[in-house]
C-alpha cells in the first residue's frame, strides 16, 4: 500500500491548469508567421517544395488544412519569409478559416457555435471517434486528451464507446474506400443534433494522401464539418482549446 501512496505522491499535480494559456516549446510548429516583404517576385521555392500543396502565392498564404507542419518550407525559403510560432490556437469552424496569410498573431479562433448547440453540448459533450485510415498519430493524440496532463474530462468532454451515446463524431484519417461505409453508418447511428469534428490534415483535405486512389471522401462531401483541427497530428491543446472557444466555454 505504501508503494501505491508513494507513486501517487510522485504524480504530484500533473494537470495543466489553464489549457488555453499553456506554453509550448519554441520548436513546436503551430500558427505560421509570414512576412511577404521578404519574398522575391517570382520566387516559388516554398510552393514547389511543399509535399501537400498547402502553399499559395501572390500573396503568400498557407492552407493549414493541408499542411503537415513538416517544416520544409521554412527550411528551403532563401529569405526566411515563413516561420512557425508555438501558438497552438489554430482550430477553425470553417474550412476557409484555415487559410492564413500568417498575420494573425493571436492565432485562429473558431466562430461561436449556434445557441442550440451551445445549449445542448455546452456543459457535456460526448464524442465517438472514427478512425478512417488514420495512421495512429491522431488516435494517440486523442487518447492523450484523457490522460492526467490534459484531463479533458474536467470539461465534461469525453470519448464514448457507442455512437448511440454520442453527440457527434471525430474523424481521423483520409477516409479509405474500405472505411467509407462504416463511417456513414457510425454517423447515422448518432442521435441528432450531432456534430462533426475533423482532426488532422488527412480528414480535412486528404493531407499527404490527396493523390491516393484508395480513398473515398464522399462522406465529407455529403456532410459539412463543424470544427476543423489542423495538424499532423494536431496537438491535444489545439483540440481542447478549439472546442472550448467554439462552445464559448471559459
Amino acid at each position: 500500500m505504501y508503494k501505491g501512496i508513494k507513486i501517487r505522491l510522485a504524480q504530484g499535480e500533473p494537470a495543466i491548469k489553464d489549457l488555453q494559456k499553456a506554453e509550448l516549446p519554441e520548436l513546436f510548429r503551430g500558427m505560421p508567421q509570414i512576412d511577404t516583404t521578404r519574398c522575391t517576385v517570382g520566387c516559388r521555392t516554398c510552393r514547389d517544395a511543399c509535399p501537400t500543396g498547402a502553399i499559395m502565392l501572390e500573396p503568400l498564404r498557407l492552407d493549414l488544412g493541408k499542411c503537415t507542419f513538416c517544416s520544409i518550407c521554412t527550411d528551403c525559403c532563401p529569405a526566411g519569409a515563413l516561420s512557425f510560432t508555438s501558438n497552438y490556437h489554430i482550430a477553425s469552424s470553417t474550412r476557409q478559416g484555415l487559410i492564413t496569410d500568417g498575420r494573425l498573431s493571436g492565432g485562429i479562433k473558431p466562430t461561436a457555435a449556434s445557441e442550440e448547440i451551445k445549449k445542448y453540448f455546452g456543459h457535456s459533450l460526448k464524442l465517438r471517434q472514427v478512425s478512417a485510415a488514420g495512421c495512429n498519430g491522431c488516435e494517440l493524440e486523442l487518447n492523450a486528451l484523457g490522460n492526467v496532463n490534459f484531463d479533458m474530462g474536467r470539461y465534461g468532454i469525453e470519448f464514448v464507446a457507442s455512437p448511440r451515446h454520442a453527440d457527434g463524431i471525430v474523424i481521423t484519417g483520409p477516409v479509405s474506400k474500405a472505411m467509407s461505409k462504416a463511417l456513414h453508418e457510425t454517423y447515422e447511428a448518432v442521435p441528432s443534433p450531432k456534430i462533426i469534428i475533423l482532426f488532422g490534415a488527412c480528414p480535412i483535405s486528404g493531407g499527404i494522401f490527396q493523390d491516393s486512389e484508395e480513398t473515398d471522401r464522399s462522406f465529407l462531401g455529403d456532410f459539412s464539418a463543424d470544427l476543423y483541427i489542423p495538424g499532423c497530428p494536431p496537438h491535444p491543446l489545439t483540440f481542447i482549446s478549439g472546442i472550448l472557444d467554439w462552445l464559448e466555454r471559459k
Binding site: P14, L27, N136, G137, N147, M179, D211
Partner: protein
C-alpha cells in the same frame, strides 16, 4: 550461385540477383528456409502481360545475412509450390503475393485476403472458418471499435466463453501507400514514410533514409546518426509507456495507467524539444537530420529522462509485484517459443517468447554499429512477458540515450544526397518498437525508384495475436490485443 547474399543497407546491382526457374526457385528458397532463415519479403519486381519476376527476401538472425532469390514466372497460369506447410512463417507473405500479383501458391494451407476483400483468390470467395455444435457461437467485432483506435475486423469462434479460433481480417486502412511511394517526389515520399504507422515515425523514416543513403552512396555524420538513434529510442520508450499504460488500464489498475501515461508525456515532449513534433515527424531525412540537438534541449531531455528513470522503477516494482496484477497477466495469452519461431514473430513479442531477434544487434545499422544495445529476452510468452519486456526495454533505452548524451560527437548534421545509382537495390532493416521493419527499394536504368516494398512488424505478428487467444476467455482478448499493440495502418499500407 543460386542466391545473392547481402547485408543490411548494403546496395547491390539488381542484375547480380540470380534469376531462377520455378523449380529452381522452390528448391533454393526451401534450402534457405531449412538453414534457419525466415522470410522478410516476397513480392513482384517486374510484371508484364505474360511474365512476372518475383523477389524473395530471406534473413538469418544468427549470421546477419540476407539472401535474395529471383524467380521468373511465365505463361497463363503462374504458380509455385507453397512453402507454408513446412515453414509457416512464409504463409502470409504468399497470401500477399497472391493478392497483389495473382501468383498462386499451390497447396497453401490457408489462402486468405490480406488487404483487399474484393480480390478473390483462385476465384473462390473467402469464408471465415466456422464451428458447429451445441453452445457454439460466433462473435464479430469491428471495423469500428469501442476505443479510440484504428479499424479492423475480428471474428471469434467460441464455445461458451472460450475462444477456439480467431480470424483477423484487415485492410480497412489501405491507402495505396506503396503505389504513392513510387509516384510521388522525394519531399512527399518522406512525409508518406512517416505516415506508414504514425506511432513508428522515426523507425520507418530510418529504414527509408538509410536505404536512400545506401543507394546514393551518401555518408551521414556520426552526430546525425547519434541524434537519430536518440530519437528512435525516445519513440520506443514513449510507445512502450503507452502500451504499459493501456495494459494497466485494461486490468483496472488505475494508478499504473495514470503513472505510465504521465511519464509518456515527458518522453514525447522530449521528442518535441528535439524536433518540434511529439512523434518525431520532420526529423529524419535522407542525408541526416533536419534539427540539430542544442545543449539547452539536451539538458532538458536529460532532466526529463532522469525523472522517468527514477519514477518508473517504483511503478514497475509496484505493478509487477502486485498479486492482483500478476494473476491477470501470468499465463494469459501464451505463445510458445515453438509457435513464435514457426510463424516468424519479430520484435518484443518474439523476445518475450524467448526468440533472440533484434535488428539493432542482429543486423546493426546507423549508430547501433558503434554503440551496441543489449537484447533482452524472456521465456514465458504470456501477457506478463510482453508487458515485462516493454518495461525492461524502457530501462535499456533510457540508459542508452543517457550514455549517448555524455559525449555527443561534433560535426554537421546534414549532408548532400547524391543521385541514386542505376539498376541497383537495397534491403533496409530497422528495429521499430514493435520489431523488424523492412524497406526494399530497387531502381531502374534511369536511377528512379521502380520498386518499393514495405513490411511493418505487424505483418509478422498479427497471426501471433490470433494464436495467443486460443483457449482463452473472450474477455481476455482486449488484454492480449494490447500486449501485442499492433499497427493496422502499418499492415494495411
Amino acid at each position: 550461385m543460386k542466391r545473392l547474399t547481402v547485408q543490411n543497407q548494403r546496395p547491390f546491382e539488381t542484375s547480380k540477383v540470380p534469376e531462377l526457374s520455378v523449380p529452381e526457385f522452390e528448391s533454393e528458397v526451401g534450402q534457405i528456409l531449412s538453414e534457419g532463415s525466415r522470410m522478410m519479403g516476397l513480392f513482384a519486381v517486374e510484371a508484364s502481360v505474360d511474365s512476372k519476376k518475383v523477389l524473395a527476401v530471406l534473413g538469418n538472425d544468427e549470421t546477419s545475412q540476407i539472401y535474395l532469390v529471383k524467380c521468373l514466372f511465365t505463361g497463363e497460369s503462374m504458380r509455385f509450390n507453397s512453402f507454408a506447410n513446412e515453414y509457416p512463417n512464409t504463409n502470409y507473405f504468399e497470401c500477399e503475393l497472391a493478392e497483389n500479383s495473382l501468383i498462386v501458391p499451390e497447396g497453401h494451407p490457408w489462402l486468405r485476403p490480406v488487404r483487399k476483400q474484393t480480390v478473390i483468390l483462385g476465384n473462390i470467395p473467402y469464408e471465415f472458418y466456422s464451428m458447429q455444435g451445441d453452445e457454439v457461437h460466433e462473435v464479430a467485432v469491428g471495423p469500428v471499435h469501442a476505443g479510440v483506435i484504428e479499424p479492423g475486423h475480428f471474428r471469434f469462434q467460441c464455445h461458451g466463453e472460450e475462444i477456439y479460433h480467431l480470424e483477423i481480417s484487415l485492410g480497412y486502412q489501405h491507402r495505396g501507400l506503396e503505389k504513392l511511394l513510387l509516384t510521388q517526389d522525394e519531399n512527399k515520399r518522406a512525409v508518406l514514410v512517416e505516415s506508414i504507422a504514425g506511432d513508428s515515425v522515426v523507425a520507418h523514416s530510418m529504414a527509408y533514409s538509410l536505404a536512400v543513403e545506401a543507394l546514393s552512396r551518401t555518408s551521414v555524420s556520426l552526430r546525425a546518426s547519434v541524434i537519430r538513434s536518440v530519437a528512435e529510442e525516445l519513440e520506443r520508450i514513449a510507445m512502450h509507456l503507452s502500451g504499459l499504460s493501456g495494459i494497466a488500464n485494461d486490468i483496472g489498475f488505475a494508478i499504473g495507467a495514470a503513472a505510465y501515461g504521465r511519464l509518456r508525456t515527458l518522453v514525447i515532449n522530449s521528442l518535441l524539444l528535439l524536433c518540434g513534433s511529439r512523434f518525431g515527424r520532420g526529423l529524419v531525412r535522407p542525408g541526416g537530420v533536419m534539427f540539430d540537438l542544442t545543449e539547452k534541449s539536451a539538458n532538458k531531455i536529460t532532466e526529463n529522462l532522469i525523472k522517468v528513470q527514477q519514477d518508473i522503477s517504483e511503478i514497475n516494482d509496484f505493478m509487477f509485484s502486485s498479486t492482483s496484477v500478476m494473476t491477470r497477466l501470468e499465463a494469459t495469452g501464451k505463445v510458445s517459443l515453438k509457435w513464435a519461431g514457426a510463424i516468424g514473430m519479430v520484435g518484443p513479442a518474439a523476445r518475450a517468447s524467448g526468440i533472440r531477434t533484434d535488428v539493432r544487434s542482429g543486423f546493426p545499422y546507423g549508430a547501433y554499429r558503434y554503440h551496441s544495445i543489449q537484447t533482452v529476452t524472456l521465456d514465458s510468452g504470456d501477457v506478463y512477458a510482453r508487458a515485462r519486456m516493454r518495461s525492461l526495454e524502457i530501462e535499456e533505452s533510457l540508459g542508452y540515450i543517457l550514455e549517448r548524451f555524455v559525449d555527443i560527437p561534433q560535426g554537421e548534421t546534414r549532408s548532400e544526397v547524391n543521385p541514386l545509382m542505376e539498376n541497383s537495390g537495397v534491403i533496409s532493416l530497422s528495429e521499430g518498437w514493435r520489431g523488424e521493419i523492412m524497406h526494399a527499394i530497387l531502381t531502374g536504368p534511369d536511377g528512379k525508384i521502380k520498386t518499393y516494398k514495405v513490411k511493418d512488424p505487424s505483418f509478422n505478428n498479427w497471426y501471433g495475436l490470433a494464436l495467443s487467444v486460443r483457449n482463452e476467455g473472450i474477455s481476455n482478448f482486449p488484454l492480449c490485443n494490447k500486449s501485442f499493440d499492433l499497427s493496422y495502418s502499418g499492415h494495411d499500407l
